[in-house]
Subunit: 147 residues, 2 copies
């Protein structure tokens, strides 16, 4: 059975935003840390690796580079429309990490515009009920094909 | 600034479920593919790597092994309570991949218990409004400390 893999949008998403330093870079930008040195400090990536990952994210259209200083030219990294839409991925990771891995208080806290501390929940887009284990059934699975 | 990293529940979550083959293995189990050979076929991982990743997931309490045949002993992999709670991460990746990477129809489709095709949305757990770019502000960021 070696040499096969499922055709899947999760695999496709991971190919663009799933590499460790890429997702941590996206997290830093999502946290408002838009400058290269800030992203290096927050992720813990080497400058070389981070530069490569940011270039790939820019090429994929997830992040854009914006000039914030002309002399010398300095850029900051901004989430594009598709980059903004990874918030659900980051927030789901954060909620899970807060609940099952981190000891003590959540290191990072957001406030939602409604005034409450933000705790993301995942709901069915149609009926708005929270997603619970066992309440969804597979209609179609992506095929397993030769990789 | 090298040698630092942010204390963050996203980093903590990735340490447990963020490795490529781990998250693909969790996806297969979430898709109902619970046997070792099925998970190998669906992920495309080598048997050795997959065995190691599954062992780590079992040790982390995310997955449990259940005997389904006694002679010879055969096991299937089942999501534990914390494993079930990675559904929001998988569904957020799937929605993003469907929207921004996959060409054509979504390879995998779920139906929610309400009867509609499942499209996961992320909402504020307090006011239930969908999370939109710019509607959340940082109250506290995890510290950047020597790594």
């Amino acid at each position: 059975m070696a040499g096969t893999a499922r055709i899947c949008s999760i695999t496709n998403a991971l190919a663009v935003v799933g590499e460790r330093w890429s997702i941590l870079a996206l997290r830093e930008i999502f946290f408002g840390q838009r400058r290269f040195d800030q992203i290096v400090a927050g992720t813990g990536a080497s400058r070389d690796i981070l530069a490569t990952r940011l270039r790939t994210l820019v090429e994929a259209g997830v992040v854009t580079k914006e000039l914030y200083e002309e002399h010398p030219p300095r850029y900051e990294y901004v989430l594009s429309e598709s980059g903004e839409q990874i918030a659900p991925i980051l927030l789901a990771l954060m909620e899970w990490g807060n609940r099952y891995v981190t000891e003590g208080a959540p290191p990072t806290v957001f406030r939602h515009s409604c005034g409450a501390e933000l705790h993301a929940e995942t709901v069915c887009g149609h009926c708005r009920a929270p997603i619970r284990p066992g309440d969804s059934t597979v209609v179609r699975l992506g095929e397993v094909t030769p990789a």
